[in-house]
């Protein structure tokens, strides 16, 4: 069934690739922004699935790394750094460094305690961002200059930005899947299912888990960088715990540890929100029970609806 996962992934990416051509034909270019938003959510969700789905580490502080990435980028831009590759390096260094520290402490715990300690670190980061008065405090900051790609403004808006985000999503999807299928990924899952056994077999599982945590944080940071480029605006609300909750919803809804689940979950949330809210202002009255029904009747998440017979890689 591995091939089927790749096939469905291929279809998703082919569709996304074709969108800039298809949308103008039906006069729906305005959906570009919605797709970028969904892709950014998907990038962060895939990274979270690496630690939740494969690592069994449920973090309720993941959005904080999106916030850190976004603020690292915004502060870089405000200080006159405009090359996106330099900003990327800064983002990776800051989010990675922070994840290394918080991850080392958080991994002393496990299970629901891990969830709560990551919430604690996430909240600390969130409140720190609200206190950055020089960068807008609670109100956030409008960015008057954006990042360039080797001096060109191609990655600032429209199709250029769309394909840039698309490429990031594709690389994340490919990269996380490769990691999860490697020896590293197998050890991670072994540690999730039976930590004592993995330990006895001689794997330094704590180090493996920490590396996974740092990788996930770095990817979330990148989605923060791209979010700044798309929104031209940054505010602490992107790091709030509710956003971390949204990410968990995307991952669980899509199907844990599956190849395309996180993408499916993220797109489902964004599209349902847009669709339901356009027909019915009190759309949450439908959306809430819909989540309950999905949990009760689609046990393996959306991904399993596409793979009725088997579950992959779990």
């Amino acid at each position: 069934m591995m091939d089927r996962g790749a096939l469905i992934g291929g279809v998703i990416f082919a569709l996304l690739l074709a969108m800039p051509v298809l949308l103008p034909i039906v006069g729906a270019e305005y959906l570009t922004g919605l797709l970028i938003k969904a892709m950014l959510l998907a990038i962060a969700a895939i990274s979270l699935d690496l630690i939740i789905g494969h690592g069994g580490m449920v973090s309720l502080g993941h959005a904080a790394f999106i916030g850190v990435g976004a603020y690292a980028t915004a502060i870089g831009l405000e200080s006159g750094i405009e090359e996106i590759l330099v900003l990327l390096a800064i983002t990776l260094a800051v989010t990675g460094g922070l994840a290394l520290v918080t991850g080392t402490l958080a991994l002393r715990t496990s299970g629901v305690y891990f969830l709560m300690i990551t919430l604690a670190f996430g909240q600390m980061i969130y409140f720190t961002l609200t206190s950055l008065a020089a960068y807008g405090g609670d109100d956030g900051l409008t960015l008057w200059s954006l990042a360039t790609f080797f001096g060109s403004d191609i990655v600032q808006e429209g199709e250029g930005l769309y394909f840039f985000v698309f490429a990031a999503l594709f690389l994340t999807w490919l990269g996380v899947w490769r990691i999860s299928q490697s020896r590293f990924g197998r050890v991670l899952r072994a540690a999730r299912d039976n930590p004592q056994r993995a330990e006895v077999m001689g794997y330094p599982i704590a180090r493996y888990q920490l590396i996974a945590y740092v990788i996930a944080a770095c990817i979330a940071g990148v989605s923060g960088l791209l979010l700044v480029q798309y929104a031209e605006f940054v505010s602490p609300s992107i790091a709030a715990w509710q956003r971390s909750g949204d990410l968990i919803v995307a991952v669980v809804l899509g199907g844990l540890g599956s190849r395309n689940g996180a993408i499916l979950g993220a797109f489902f949330i964004v599209i349902m929100e847009e669709f339901l809210s356009s027909i019915f202002h009190e759309w949450r009255l439908i959306y809430g029970p819909l989540l309950v029904v999905l949990v009760l009747y689609a046990k393996g998440g959306l991904n399993d609806l596409l793979h009725p017979k088997s579950r992959e890689a779990s």
């Binding site: 729906a28 609670d138 109100d139 409008t142 979010l227 929104a231 031209e232 356009s278």
Partner: protein, 389 residues
């Protein structure tokens, strides 16, 4: 759900299905306001006020049939941004009216003005866009955020308060209001207290107040915070020993929750529902009849915004392609504001009169702010000089 929303979203769905802009000859106005969460009452006032003006003119502004598309920003910057870009790209609206809150305005400002669409704020008036970053495509029909607090300082002087206890939530708007008050108040500020945003329990602050020896308290506690503070202020029995003076704390959106506890409290603002002029009397009675509640400043400013657009579209004869002509027509502010004199400064923020207000209970048991006296005439904000327009 209001029928207007249904029609607007219905039209949006329809045009989405048809994949065309079949109604292109109509005047398209997009609105981005907060209609979710506790502050939804503010957004609803704006929708209602705008809709009233529209209905009075038979669904037309400046002689053109109007498609009004109302979007809820949910008080989330990313949602506001998405809704705003959809308005300018999908709907290709002629005007965007929004927002309630300054941080939402920050989120939608850049894409809208860069698309050369006119953005008119019926409430948020941050200093950010009043000075250096003033913009030819941006107008404000409410006030500059600091002004109400500055006028409160003047009111405090006139009332003869010598010692005032100042309190606000610790975020940008809170700090702006404290700064505004301190700028004009000539007496002594005994304490300057910043509470967390969304503060629940004011008893510690009330204890400080009672021992501060101040004649009055000045505060800015919008929404639920104001409801809690006023109730607890009354409960602590402080009403007899000190005056309560505020901005955006005891207004028509919070008074239904505060009731008798707020009667007699002072406020400063650009308008009150009982201001006696022909246009205002007509507006308030029509509004109450239609929606069953007393309009607040939010509704009034939205009503004025609709009339402003009406005047500008009429003046340009309906041709909105010539942006310079539209801008000139907006800037002229050739409409009858229900608050009396109204004009735009060089930064497109209003120049208007400000008044002392007080909370009263009407004979039918409803509460509203009431006009006391005019404190300052033709008051302009202090950032306009930094604006290059």
């Amino acid at each position: 759900m209001k029928p207007t929303l249904k029609i607007a979203t219905g039209a949006a769905v329809l045009s989405m299905l048809m994949g065309t802009t079949a109604l292109a000859e109509n005047l398209k106005i997009g609105m981005v306001v907060t209609l979710s969460g506790p502050p939804a009452a503010l957004g609803q006032q704006i929708v209602d006020g705008f809709q009233l003006a529209l209905d009075e003119k038979g669904g037309m502004l400046g002689g053109q049939a109007v498609d009004l598309i109302v979007e809820d920003d949910e008080l989330k910057p990313d949602v506001a941004l998405l809704k705003a870009t959809s308005l300018i790209e999908r709907e290709e609206v002629d005007f965007v009216v929004g927002t309630v809150f300054s941080n939402m305005l920050q989120a939608i400002f850049k894409p809208i003005v860069e698309s050369e669409t006119f953005l008119i704020s019926p409430n948020a008036g941050p200093s950010t866009f009043a000075g250096n970053n003033c913009n030819p495509y941006f107008f404000v029909t409410s006030y500059q955020n600091n002004q109400n607090a500055e006028v409160s300082g003047m009111v405090a002087n006139e009332e003869g308060f010598e010692n005032v206890f100042v309190m606000a939530p610790n975020y940008q708007a809170g700090r702006d209001n404290v700064e505004g008050f301190n700028k004009t108040f000539e007496g002594t500020v005994t304490d300057e207290v910043f509470t967390p945003l969304g503060h629940q329990d004011f008893s510690a602050e009330l204890a400080r107040m009672s021992t501060s020896g101040a004649d009055a308290v000045f505060t800015f506690m919008p929404g639920g915070m104001g409801v809690r503070l006023v109730g607890q202020f009354d409960g602590a029995g402080l009403k007899d020993s000190m005056k309560f003076m505020s901005v955006f704390t005891t207004d028509e959106t919070t008074l239904p929750g505060q009731k008798d506890a707020a009667v007699g409290f002072l406020a400063a603002g650009n308008w009150a529902p009982d201001m006696d002029n022909e246009a205002n009397n007509a507006f308030v009675s029509a509004f109450e009849e239609k929606y069953g509640y007393i309009p607040g400043g939010y509704a009034m400013q939205a009503y004025d915004t609709a009339n402003l657009i009406d005047s500008a579209v009429a003046a340009t004869g309906g041709s909105l392609e010539d942006k310079d002509a539209v801008r000139a027509a907006l800037k002229a502010a050739d409409f009858t504001s229900v608050r009396g004199d109204f004009s735009f400064n060089n930064n497109h923020y209003p120049v208007q009169d400000f008044h002392a207000l007080t909370v009263v209970k009407r004979d039918d048991g409803k509460f509203h702010t009431s006009f006391v006296r005019t404190v300052v005439e033709d008051y302009a904000d202090s950032f306009a000089s930094e604006c290059g327009m």
